[in-house]
């Protein structure tokens, strides 16, 4: 596996993760990254991510392995947080290094689209409404389906 996987309650540092990916190699022509962050929409005060720990790691490894069969990936990182997060904090990071631009960009999109629909995480939003579970969105299924 050239893509490293982490699930953690601690914050991650996108900048540091990207710096680690690109360093000391001269066969990487492209690094694409995606960071998902907590938005303070409608007065949201916190976002809690619940997950199924065993299944989460298994699904993330599967999605990463699928990406490696589809694109020439030199190195990559997927980090997904769980627990209670505040607005502005990072939820998920996907970064892919590849010899080629299209491969890096496509693999990055693929990984985040598939994570959204196949990794067992659930978001609960706190705000003026109290607490509520986020409903799945049909457009996320559509985004994932376009890779099939």
């Amino acid at each position: 596996m050239r893509i490293a996987i982490r699930v953690q309650p601690e914050p991650f540092d996108t900048a540091a993760e990207l710096a680690r990916l690109g360093t000391s190699r001269t066969d990487i022509g492209a690094v694409a990254s995606f960071t998902g962050l907590v938005r303070a929409d409608d007065g949201l005060t916190a976002l809690t991510l619940e997950h199924h720990p065993v299944m989460t790691l298994r699904q993330m490894a599967r999605v990463a392995a699928e990406a490696e069969t589809r694109w020439p990936i030199a190195a990559g990182t997927i980090i997904h947080r769980h627990g209670r997060l505040l607005p502005g904090e990072g939820i998920v990071l996907v970064a892919v290094a590849s010899p080629h631009r299209a491969a890096a960009l496509e693999a990055c999109s693929f990984l985040i689209d598939w994570l959204k629909t196949s990794a067992p995480f659930w978001k609960r939003e706190e705000g003026p409404w109290g607490a509520r579970w986020v409903a799945a969105r049909a457009e996320d299924d559509a985004a994932a389906a376009r890779w099939q």
Binding site: E50, H52, P120, F121, R124
Partner: protein, 83 residues
Amino acid sequence: MQALYFAWVRERIGLDAEPLDLPEDIKTVAALLDWLAQRSEGHGAALADRSLIRVALDNEFAGPEASLAGVAEVAIFPPVTGG
């Protein structure tokens, strides 16, 4: 068989997990959900709308017709919303 519940399925049932002693005639996921929904008011509320229920058997997503033969753990939860 061990059952795991997540998100609002967990909240409505009021349990993270519970052991299940399945009757012999419960052989599929769909049959399991029908049987579980009778177990308590909370179970019934959690499982009322099957279109919002997803199931994993031994950490693999499974459809309503999937067989329970040899399964040690069933996880029941809403559609995922990570990422």
